[in-house]
Amino acid sequence: MTAYDIFFAPFADYGFMRRALVACLCLGLGSGPIGVFLMLRRMSLMGDAMSHAVLPGAAIGYLVAGSLSLTAMGIGGLVAGLSVALLSGVVSRMTVLQEDASFASFYLASLALGVLIVSLRGSNIDLLHVLFGTILAIDAPALTQIGAITSVTLLALAVIYRPLVAECFDPGFLRAVGGRGPIYHFLFLLLVVLNLVASFQALGTLMAVGLMMLPAAIAQLWSRNLPAMMIIAAASAAASGYLGLIASYHLELASGPTIIMTAALLYGLSIFFAPSGLARRFFPRPHLKG
């Protein structure tokens, strides 16, 4: 088997592999930087919760459209995800519950409701698709939608970069200069939900955050510079997508989980070999003179 057969032939021969590849590259470009911000806001697990919260909306969209239509499921998921984010924000402000506690309650209820709705009408196959995604079944309209979401994400991040950084780093300062922090927090949550919806068909509700948080963790291990972290996150997410697809093709593995496992593998390598990683701990270099 030549290098061409391994690395290019699957995409040259099959349209579904090409579409899956483009979808992965797009998802990586958008989700990587979003994941970096999620991590810096100490909301790593919030992304996971959010991806489950998207489920009932997507399920309703699925029932209404009668098939795995990304548009219907996307709109439903967007509404459900934002509702949970807003409701838990309101509850934590009005009661003694901290935001993470109210969020956990809402997303569990949301996940249960979503599975109920799917199992009410759909088959077990549908449930599997919703939970684990069908990246090889992505069609042209779905691809357009994913590409649009990625473009909007990158543009929006560029526009709100400064207030978003200020809001993550020193919210008190932003408040003191009248910087309207809550607006940027909300816009950011909107971007998170949008990207989860984009990942939804490809990776399913259980692993949609995989291309968000694993690349972000990898980036944090390699760099202490925010723009560099976002580039590393996007690049490692895209690389996971590409390598994962190739591996799943040749080894005949399920694509979604293989992509996430590839990202996990890169994460594992980073834990050892990154500048702040374990290798440095076992083989320390001598300290400097000054």
Partner: protein
């Protein structure tokens, strides 16, 4: 006497209905350098938060004719993520918010001012350092540099020298003196009475209620300080509602 920059009118701020600042009235004159002193739990930080509009008065009000961007505020334990990947220079440049805002260009001149501000607080050459690598004293210097860049007319400092080494404290007190010389209004919450006596011409002595407000020598009398301590420690779980004064 010119018009005051901030007027407190019968200000009461409470937590769970217990007043932390109780019926406080008075004015801050433009260009004044005032220490807010008092024992623990006297409502000093609460007063600053009320002036910044972060706490809503239970009664009375805070009046001023300033824009939000005319205020520079350094909270006590600032809610700052010290592990955030941001450089010293970028942190100081946040102080250009008034001219650059959320989306505007940061002028070349602002970058030059930021470097100058860093030099003023004794951190020349630290521009590219990551803030996580700074000591507590150095980080406080960075926050003062940001305040310098903000070019605020009114500067509120909440316990700025707590857990800061002596040399940094001395350097930063020089910055405060410089602001005073520029004619800016500076209000600082302090618990070190020696510092108050040495550097601050005016003092507001607070023990939830006003004990004294005026020239430091008069306000910081031992009789006043004793009274302040006695009053701040009083906490009545079953206090009755405070009727408005007739």
């Amino acid at each position: 006497m010119s018009a005051p920059v901030i007027r407190l009118d019968n200000l009461t701020v409470s937590y769970d209905r217990h007043p932390a600042v109780h019926h406080l009235s008075g004015t801050f004159q433009p260009g004044s350098l005032t220490a807010i002193a008092g024992p623990n739990g006297a409502g000093k930080s609460t007063l600053l938060k009320a002036i910044m509009g972060e706490l809503r008065p239970a009664e009375g009000r805070v009046e001023h004719l300033m824009q939000r961007t005319d205020f520079g505020y350094l909270p006590q334990a600032a809610d700052i993520n010290r592990r955030f990947p941001i450089s010293v220079l970028d942190t100081v440049l946040l102080g250009s918010w008034r001219s650059a805002g959320a989306f505007g260009r940061i002028a070349k001149q602002d970058a030059a001012c930021a470097r100058a501000a860093l030099a003023t607080v004794g951190l020349e050459g630290f521009e590219k350092r990551h803030i996580g690598s700074l000591s507590a004293g150095q980080f406080q210097r960075v926050l003062f540099a940001r305040l310098l860049l903000q070019d605020a007319r009114i500067i509120l400092l909440d316990e700025p020298f707590t857990a800061i080494d002596a040399r940094t404290t001395r350097d930063l007190l020089d910055v405060v003196a410089r602001w005073h010389g520029d004619g800016r209004t500076v209000i600082a919450v302090l618990h070190d009475f020696e510092q108050v006596r040495a550097y601050f011409p005016e003092t507001l002595l607070l023990a939830r209620q006003l004990i004294g407000w005026g020239p430091t020598q008069e306000v910081m009398s031992s009789a006043n300080l004793l009274q302040a301590r006695a009053m701040a420690e009083r906490w009545d779980e079953d206090a009755e509602a405070c009727e408005p004064a007739a």
